[in-house]
Subunit: 185 residues, 4 copies
DNA sequence: AATGAATGAGAATTCATTCAT
DNA sequence: AATGAATGAATTCTCATTCAT
């Protein structure tokens, strides 16, 4: 009669938080376990390795963005402007409630060079993000400019999250979002 | 045939490279030592701890930016526009030749939460950067907008360095820089 | 066929032996581990640090003395003379079977100046020892002389253990104990 | 034109102090060097190893005891009682000014088991001490009792030094010395 | 599934010692 | 003699991972 203390999803959620706040290397399996009310060994019943857990975290976040945010770009019922407003609002909402910035961004800098598996996931995430924005902007800006703009929006967002996290001050991030919306008339 | 003694500066340079490419935690004292042609223990002859070495790396970079880039903002012999062009060009040049992005940015995400000493240095660096840009922009944009714009430039730069490093593609970063210069007429 | 799991107590016992024979600094966690049939790292599953293990050793010994020896002083069913005889006999028995003298005494000289935490424990141990003896001697000698005698007995005991250990010869230590008993008529 | 910063004797004196206060293992060559105003490497111009330096320290102290204290026992111009009084006074004076107890006693407990060379020196020292006392006591107590008494005096002295050092209180040590003198009529 | 003891590789750091200058 | 850089072995401690219960 097994005692189920937790499930994959809650381990992922806890891990995301810890990875975001303290980074990949500084977050130990023991820390994650304790935060889940588990012994560190028990996590291995759910994930085969720390790397696999980290990948699950990235995929979990990516999934959310795909379903709830990137998808906005491909809706038929909204104007580009409305899409951009909604998109930006959602992104804004996600990162504002966020504790330690953007896990994908953090991992991009900390471990993408040491971990090809995770790097692939991170690249795909950012490319999907850019693709979605490009799709929104194309009608108004054309292919070329839309592509460049999309990239700049992601850059600006990531950069301002970095500073928000570092300064512990959301103001610049919020302002950034206002600027984005003004890209479309 | 002079015996080449390792000095602090060369250890710092090597360390900066390794820290940028692999991150703080993944870069071991042994790795640094080997890259310097030293035993791992020997580094402690020059720096009391890994943390102290990391701080020295941050200060070294900060010093370069202060003297060679931020100082541009306070020169009397240039117009704001020329300052901005030169400033951006220098920033661009520094990060283009750069191997693993911006060490300060990387550390901001990886260890600022676990290491107050390093965090302070990182914050100071980014604030100096913003202050310099603000100083350049004030004559044309006024205090308020200059401040916001300065923050957005730093954000955009950091974000695009992140993507450049992740994609291993400098194009977006270069485009970013063009956009910045157009901020002033 | 029960699997024998190493527990705190057996690690403590092994450590006491090694610390007594080779001292604190010369006894490494690896040595202790090997003597317990463990890898060096495994000890940290039971004790957070070498210092904590050492403290546990001191407390373990102190506890034995408190329960089995010092307590004699406070019994109601024995005359002072009988208390002193029993007390001395027990002390004698403990240190005679002992491998490397008195751990508390050894640590007092080796690390009490470098380790406040351990020092406190050591001081308390010796003061309890003196207090017990004082309590035994007071009826016959009065407060003042009892106090001085108690201190001298502890001194003499520690000193003769030192010489017993150094010379590897128990004779002087045994004689010492005879002398102590003659203090009371 | 060599710069002589120091000589063997002063290194020995400094080392004795440090060894007494912090023990053998906790006293590093760097610490000793710094206390002498030297780099740690420079000590090796005077002593071939830490062990040799430690041995020199023991011999230095032993020499002092031999010449200034133990010799009293063999003088023709004093009565046994006067010898004992002077002997005890000198011992008392030496250890009262002393910073960290008796180096020979400290080393006896810390490293005699790990270091045969030093152990021999320590044993010889204590045996000379006992022999001197025995010589003083023989006329009054006879061979047998003198031997036992001598041993007990050394024990008591060492033990009370241990407690003096631990408690940082010289009182018990002083009292101890009064007791010794009363051994002879 | 959960535990907790154990592993073993490897991390940072220390330190006696060496050696070219 | 003195220096200070370098060594290399050893030490404490960490941590992802395994496994018997």
């Amino acid at each position: 009669m097994p005692i189920i203390k937790t499930d994959k999803k809650s381990i992922i959620k806890v891990s995301i938080h810890l990875f975001k706040v303290n980074g990949y290397s500084s977050t130990t399996m023991a820390t994650i376990g304790k935060a889940c009310g588990l012994m560190k060994g028990s996590i291995y019943h759910h994930f085969n390795s720390k790397e696999e857990l980290a990948l699950a975290c990235l995929k979990y976040i990516h999934e959310y963005f795909k379903n709830d945010i990137f998808s906005i770009a491909y809706r038929q019922d909204l104007s580009p402007k409305d899409k951009l407003i909604l998109f930006t609002k959602k992104v804004n909402a996600y990162f504002m409630k966020s504790d330690g910035g953007c896990l994908l961004g953090n991992f991009a800098l900390e471990i993408s060079n040491t971990n090809p598996l995770l790097k692939d996931e991170i690249i795909t995430y950012f490319q999907s993000w850019e693709a979605a924005l490009e799709c929104i902007l194309i009608p108004d800006l054309g292919k070329e400019r839309a592509k460049a703009q999309a990239n700049q929006i992601v850059s600006a967002t990531q950069g301002s999250i970095l500073l928000m996290r570092l300064y512990n001050d959301p103001t610049p991030f919020t302002i950034q979002n206002d600027t984005i919306v003004k890209l479309l008339p």
